[in-house]
Symmetry: C2
Subunit: 232 residues, 2 copies
DNA sequence: GTGAATTTATGCTATATAACATATTTTGGA
DNA sequence: TCCAAAATATGTTATATAGCATAAATTCAC
């Protein structure tokens, strides 16, 4: 798709945000935003780098992840279209503390991040928008901490599957997840080793909770999965 | 101390925030703020409740905690004077998702939380202040997630001790932590069972990293502790 | 001050999960 | 199309940590 077309789509699908901007700010957004494409598995930014852009994911799927003890990867968040990301560090006056990578080819609108500061100073609706965004994110993050630390492997994996289904939706059959992750990514999301992700996934299949076909995962008994996810 | 004296102190020690307020807003703050005292171990608010106040801790120590799987408690954050807390839920239009409790007797300035919204709408400096606060908190929370999930028990406990020392400081000897926690609280902070907190603390003492005297903990070899904390 | 309740200490056992090994399947590039 | 590399599958072993039991020490209420 042509960049101009994508920018148009952004303005439309982000109307909740764009409508807060003044006419001048809207004009600035239009003239300063650029469109970039990233290939599957490409890194968008790395921990330690200076944040430059407010990213707006237009198509594709993105993961934000940390490299923890011994380089072990923990996926912190996953992004879907149309969502902002990559703004926290700048708003906290920090360099990035996460890495961002593409699960699949994706298209991203890049908005120079200083504009956000400028807009917040000119227009408190914009500032309040980010207050809400961050406040919600913080709640999610805290919730995630407890889930990852307290639930057992089966609970964590079941939760990850349900979360991915909620986030990215299903295929036409309304049962097969539309996102296909490697077992390794699934493990990084659920805080376990790849072996255990593979093993537990097999167990779920044996128990007729899911059907596996390569990386395609189909829900068979979603209620039981939810129960497993809740109990831990 | 008299409430009026405490409010005066708040205005002073929170000058970074108060200086952002307009004269009218400052007046509103003064006339609407109230002072409450809580006893050691008292609960300030609970998960599920509607947020009513922006809390500003003036004296004492406070924990924010969640009850996770099977009621198991995870301490998410600890507050020290003079810090705001209890605002996230309101800013996200949610009820509280955490509980707040007093480690020790404490004095808290309670500011009706709708004022925050009013001030943010009137004055974008206030909104930007909370943007920064939330952005920093979110970074801390993500970091904490990885530390709690990836580090081993010794690493988590060492980290908790160092964190508490950094937060609440030392006694006059410059080596004894000024906060005294039960082993249970220490465990809830470090995501482990009470037995393991006790055991690991004993091990640290045996290894001459700390000295234990009841709930008093004195650092003997803080460098080694930092190393343990880092390696995990 | 005394007894009951709580907290701390320590040992032993059970269990969840990581780590390792090896085989099989799938994928991607030349 | 074929080969090498990567991903998946599965079994076995090692280990970190939870769980339980019991005793000692401390705290608290009366």
């Amino acid at each position: 798709m042509k960049p101009s077309k994508i920018i148009e789509e952004m303005l439309e699908r982000l109307s909740e945000f764009v409508s807060l901007l003044t006419p001048e700010q809207k004009q600035e957004l239009k003239s300063e935003v650029s469109v970039e494409r990233f290939k599957k598995n490409e890194v968008l930014y790395r921990e330690g780098e200076v944040p430059q852009y407010l990213h707006c994911l237009m198509s594709g799927k993105v993961k934000l992840y940390k490299e923890g003890v011994g380089g072990r990867i923990q996926i912190m968040r996953v992004m879907k279209p149309v969502e902002f990301f990559g703004y926290r560090a700048y708003l906290a006056n920090q360099n990035y503390v996460n890495n961002a990578g593409a699960f699949e080819n994706c298209t991203i609108c890049m908005i120079p991040i200083e504009l956000v500061n400028k807009w917040m100073e000119e227009n408190n609706k914009v500032a309040i928008y980010f207050v809400r965004l961050l406040a919600v994110e913080l709640g999610v993050s805290d919730e995630r901490t407890v889930n990852l630390t307290q639930k057992h492997i089966r609970g964590r994996l079941a939760e990850a599957l349900i979360f991915l289904a909620d986030t990215y939706g299903m295929e036409e059959d309304n049962a097969t997840m539309s996102i296909c992750l490697s077992r390794e990514d699934l493990a990084s999301l659920s805080n376990m080793t790849t072996s255990n992700a593979i093993r537990t996934l097999s167990a779920f299949q044996t128990e007729q909770l899911i059907e596996i076909n390569g990386r395609k995962i189909k829900f068979v008994d979603i209620e039981s999965l939810k129960k497993i996810s809740k109990i831990g």
